[in-house]
């Protein structure tokens, strides 16, 4: 129990720590958002030959960034977090003229849809291919798959995305090249909408799948090979246990352990590379909005997207941490080390 409380506590601390760091960055940097916006407005006005009123511009910049320059950093941060926690108020998006929370909340399920499916597919492929390679160790299947996985891993993921977009989307016209579902479809439980969602999501999911594709399968192979030679597996075989039981209970369960941690690290990677995938496929998820926010200098939206990604990563890592004890009962005795 203590372990769980400690983990949750730790997750909250790291999350707030991360937010604070970003907030400081946001406030402190020389030429931070407020100055940048002021400079931008001034230069635009000078070009247009309109009068420059310092006070009015200052007020406008404050509205655009959601930062009250009179408050100190700690006070401002407290206010920012307080508004988020109590009112779910992330400020107001400048570019979309809506509260940031609403904009992101609408986009969130779509991002989860893409990244979640891609991640699950990728993880399954990792385990399957890794075990397959180990089972056929030293054969042509093994070396062929090794070369294939190596090649897939070494090519940047968006190369695949761009190729898919060019070939499937534009040359052959098989799959749509942007959007989340067809314009004509009525969102709801009807075949046109559901097929449309699947078609629009296919390419982003496939390219997310390629990121995680068998990324850990070489590690999985090494683990499996190592465990296959161990004594307890031989004794299990001598005891006459069925191959199935040996595979699932004795082999896979132990070989997955190191991969499981890889999955945790992978989660944050997949979500943050969603920014690029969504932009390439013009798929309006959280990453896409964050990118648009950058183009429009929409600082509240950028910060909101950032909080979203950080929160998602914290929760994912927390879940993995809490469930790690279930698959590896030895975990959690780190406190017994002495310090030098």
């Amino acid at each position: 129990m203590r372990y769980y409380v400690q983990r949750v506590f730790q997750a909250i601390i790291t999350f707030v720590g991360g937010l604070f760091l970003t907030y400081c960055l946001y406030r402190l940097m020389p030429g931070g958002p407020v100055q940048a916006i002021v400079a931008d407005i001034v230069s635009r006005r000078v070009r247009q030959g309109r009068p420059v009123d310092a006070q009015e511009i200052g007020a406008q910049a404050e509205r655009m960034t959601g930062i009250n320059p009179e408050h100190g950093i700690l006070e401002g941060f407290y206010e920012y977090v307080f508004n988020i926690v109590v009112y779910q108020d992330f400020g107001r998006s400048i570019g979309f003229a809506d509260p940031v929370f609403d904009v992101l909340f609408r986009a969130m399920p779509w991002s989860l849809f893409i990244s979640g499916y891609g991640l699950i597919l990728g993880f399954t492929a990792t385990v399957l291919i890794g075990t397959l390679m180990a089972w056929n160790e030293g054969t042509k299947t093994d070396s062929g798959l090794t070369v294939f996985v190596l090649t897939m891993n070494s090519i940047p993921y968006y190369v695949g995305a761009i190729f898919m977009l060019v070939v499937l989307g534009f040359e052959w016209g098989v799959l749509p090249t942007g959007g989340r579902y067809p314009q004509s479809a009525e969102p709801g439980f009807n075949p046109e909408f559901m097929i449309g969602v699947a078609k629009h999501g296919a390419m982003p999911i496939l390219s997310t799948f390629i990121i995680g594709f068998a990324g850990g399968s070489l590690g999985m192979r090494a683990n499996t090979v190592r465990i296959m030679g161990s004594d307890y597996l031989r004794s299990a075989r001598l005891r006459g246990l069925s191959t199935n039981r040996i595979l699932t209970r004795y082999l896979a369960r132990n070989a997955i352990l190191p991969i499981y941690t890889g999955l945790v690290i992978g989660i944050s990677g997949v979500f943050s590379s969603g920014v690029i995938t969504e932009q390439i496929f013009q798929y309006p998820g959280v990453g896409w909005y964050m990118f648009e926010g950058l183009q429009l200098q929409d600082y509240p939206l950028i910060m909101g997207g950032f909080v979203f990604f950080a929160g998602l990563t914290v929760i994912a890592i927390l879940i993995a941490d809490l469930t790690y004890g279930l698959i590896d009962p030895r975990a959690g005795d780190a406190a017994s080390r002495e310090s030098f």
């Binding site: 070494s154 060019v166 943050s272 914290v314 030098f340």
Partner: protein, 339 residues
């Protein structure tokens, strides 16, 4: 045993009486011999073992090719110019401009070559920053333990939680960086924390080893133990991570330039792809301007492929049994009698 039994109050440390043993060894070996041995252990043997593995060989040659392209290649290949040929010339049509041209008739191939130095600078800065910080934090946290460990790891955890690309987007939106070295360093920010954690967990097992305990009992200081006893054991892992960091930084940089998140300042492959997409409409119309986007993409894929192959092969370079077979100075006794 020795004097230690007679001085339970610890009047003098063992180190003061006997030295660490290392100085004695140094005094006996002439410098030329030592240099030869260093060369054999650190240069010749790794090279030979690396050469014997096809992955390191191909990966290493690939990396060398890109380095040459970014240094000597820039001097040999003349700077690209407007109107070298007709606009949007397809590749393999005119053999004086085999790679084709862009929207104002500049050779694509020359642009790729002249974009290489910026890529190399970004990779270098990324490696130095990510690996340097990761090694310092990871080794100190793992070895010291206790409060230091907890403080450093909390810091690393905060950075692990911050999602990589969004963090970069926030930073870049706040202050636009143009210098390739700075870009590389910023892109490496999300990378050091993972490395620090991995290194720490490796140090946790090493710190309990007998030889480390012996060094501690001799009274050697923490910096000495970390740099001389622990770090060499982890060198392979650090080198492999460096290769990984370089790959990650390059991939992220090209993606961010391609999408126009980083402000344009120098020629690099991402900027080329961005122009191909925006101006040449390369994605929707690949027959027209596709070559403009795919050549830099090919160059990038080749670079990451070489780096990945190289790091995969390095695993073998540092395998001690394989190493000993190629070395002249390590005798059979030291390898446990293996032929």
């Amino acid at each position: 045993m020795t004097d230690d039994d007679m001085q339970p109050d610890g009047g003098a440390t063992k180190e003061e009486i006997f030295g660490t043993g290392e100085s004695v060894e140094r005094a006996r070996t002439p410098p030329a011999e030592r240099l030869k041995r260093m060369y054999d252990i650190y240069v010749r043997t790794p090279f030979l073992v690396g050469w014997s593995d096809w992955r390191t060989r191909i990966g290493g040659l690939g990396i060398l090719f890109y380095i040459l392209m970014g240094t000597i290649g820039v001097l040999i290949v003349p700077e690209y110019q407007v109107n070298e040929g007709p606009n949007y010339l397809s590749p393999f049509e005119d053999f004086s401009i085999i790679t084709g041209t862009d929207y104002i008739g500049r050779s694509i191939g020359k642009q790729v070559v002249h974009g290489t130095p910026a890529m190399l600078k970004m990779a270098l800065a990324g490696v130095v920053f990510a690996v340097g910080l990761g090694v310092v934090v990871g080794l100190i946290a793992g070895y010291k333990g206790g409060v230091v460990d907890r403080a450093l790891m909390t810091m690393a955890d905060v950075f692990i939680v911050l999602p990589g690309l969004p963090l970069i987007i926030v930073i870049v939106s706040i202050f636009p960086v143009r210098d390739p070295f700075l870009v590389g360093a910023i892109l490496a920010i999300p990378r050091w924390s993972g490395l620090a954690r991995q290194l720490r967990s490796q140090v946790l097992t090493l710190r309990e080893e007998d030889y480390v305990e012996a060094a501690r009992a001799m009274g050697l200081g923490t910096p000495t133990i970390i740099t001389q006893e622990i770090m060499p054991k982890l060198a392979p892992f650090i080198l492999i991570s460096a290769s990984g960091a370089a790959t990650g930084v390059i991939v992220a940089a090209v993606a961010l330039y391609f999408l126009g998140i980083l402000p344009f300042s120098n020629d690099n492959w991402g900027v080329m792809m961005n122009f191909a997409r925006r101006r040449g409409n390369a994605i929707a119309n690949p027959g027209h301007a596709g070559h403009w986007m795919f050549l830099p993409l090919l160059a990038l894929s080749g670079m990451t492929f070489a780096l990945t192959l190289f790091s995969q092969g390095l695993d073998r370079v540092f395998n001690p049994q394989l190493r000993a077979r190629h070395s002249k100075t390590i005798t059979d006794d030291e390898t446990g009698g293996e032929p």
